[in-house]
Symmetry: D2
Subunit: 142 residues, 4 copies
């Protein structure tokens, strides 16, 4: 049994890059975020905009994000990002992202997200809900 | 009688700039947007987050934005932006923005925004409301 | 004879959207910019990163940008952007962009760009060069 | 002996926030980056644009970035970020950033950066240089 992996390719745009001619670091966290949404769509067949409603959650908010920058991604490079769930906890999970340029790993990162609902005692706060077994099962493609 | 002008100064950050070492164009529209909110706060004494509630509107959505780029703004430059209402229509208004670097005009732009409410017949659409005379009056500082 | 049109489709991401749940205006100028690069690649067969070197220019810097926002683009929408050169001047040109959601025009905008070299008398300034006839010819697909 | 701490305050802008009405995660990495530049300016008295030239380096590129999101930062919040060097290695260092809203810690993060020059054997790669003792000394304010 192995993890479901979502892959997409995208170009490094002029507007992604800084005066050193390489992708400005915050952009990688944009790439990660969108791949997490797309990973869920690919595994569950639920579009990003319908995820909360379908599962009775408020969303999958981020509580932790990190990245290691191994090689620069430059204007005009074609990047591939591969994303998978690397850990399912009871109410949270980790998404691992690997961005490669021309087959070489350029950036690796991860996000920790919560399967969240509104706290019934305090509408301004969130609370984790147990992640349904059916959701977890969908990410464990045979 | 002259227009109320809101001014602020800010640094050109590394992350604002592109591989040519100058501010990437979309950033200027971020600078404009925030100055429009701050212009309203300065003239009306109402914080951005309270504007809608205070005046019974849904917001001041943008329907048109433009910019002319006269001189480059570079990493490490100190910029000044001056913003004022250049036109009040019945339900819309224009905000003019001028960004200067070292006293020289670098970018000039404008936004057209609507004093908007939800369309009572179609919740997915907006409708302009007449801009209150008291609001207009506040921008015409003696 | 008609203009060469470059089209691409892309999803409206969570990170593109503001608290109103619609695309924040500056993002459209990012979409425009990248489509202009891709339009040149599609018409000339020259990758964005090679454009300057191939034609002996420093780039195609933006001197003017504008957009009209007709309908909101929301998280999870699939957008199509169609871009074409709407005017060739001697040393500058206009790119027109139209973004549609579900077949309805949502945003239209344009950019004015210069076919630019460094000013020989002042390395900090740019100067327009005549756009080669062969370049113009490539955008006028029969 | 204690670390030199650089603090700045800034407003959470409309354009920083996502459809949940809170700051989109990538923006925090923009805030971190700029505070690192400003920390160096504050400690060394060297403006960001002059840092490389002054010390004979190519820059202080990021090799690692991370953030933990403890409380949401919302539109209209006033944020304070406090930044300091938490580790000096031989050729790299860590910058720790703490963002507070109304006195409560909202986000904490860190960056690892390299005191870098171009690799003499391969111009496309960077190499760490020993961080000068005088630089380290400036961050250890009595």
């Amino acid at each position: 049994m192995s993890n479901f992996v979502y892959r997409r390719q995208f170009a490094i745009e002029w507007g992604h890059c800084d005066p050193a001619g390489i992708v400005f670091n915050s952009r990688f966290f944009e790439f990660f975020d969108w791949s997490s949404w797309m990973l869920f769509e690919a595994a569950l067949g639920v579009r990003p905009g319908d995820l909360a409603k379908t599962f009775g959650i408020i969303g999958i908010p981020l509580v932790d994000a990190k990245a290691r920058f191994l090689r620069p991604a430059k204007f005009n490079d074609m990047a591939e990002i591969a994303s998978e769930i690397s850990r399912f906890g009871r109410t949270s999970f980790d998404v691992q992202h690997r961005i490669s340029i021309a087959g070489e790993l350029a950036v690796e990162g991860s996000e920790t997200r919560v399967w969240a609902t509104q706290d019934p005692d305090d509408a301004t706060r969130l609370r984790g809900l147990p992640i349904p077994a059916e959701v977890i099962g969908r990410f464990q493609a045979a």
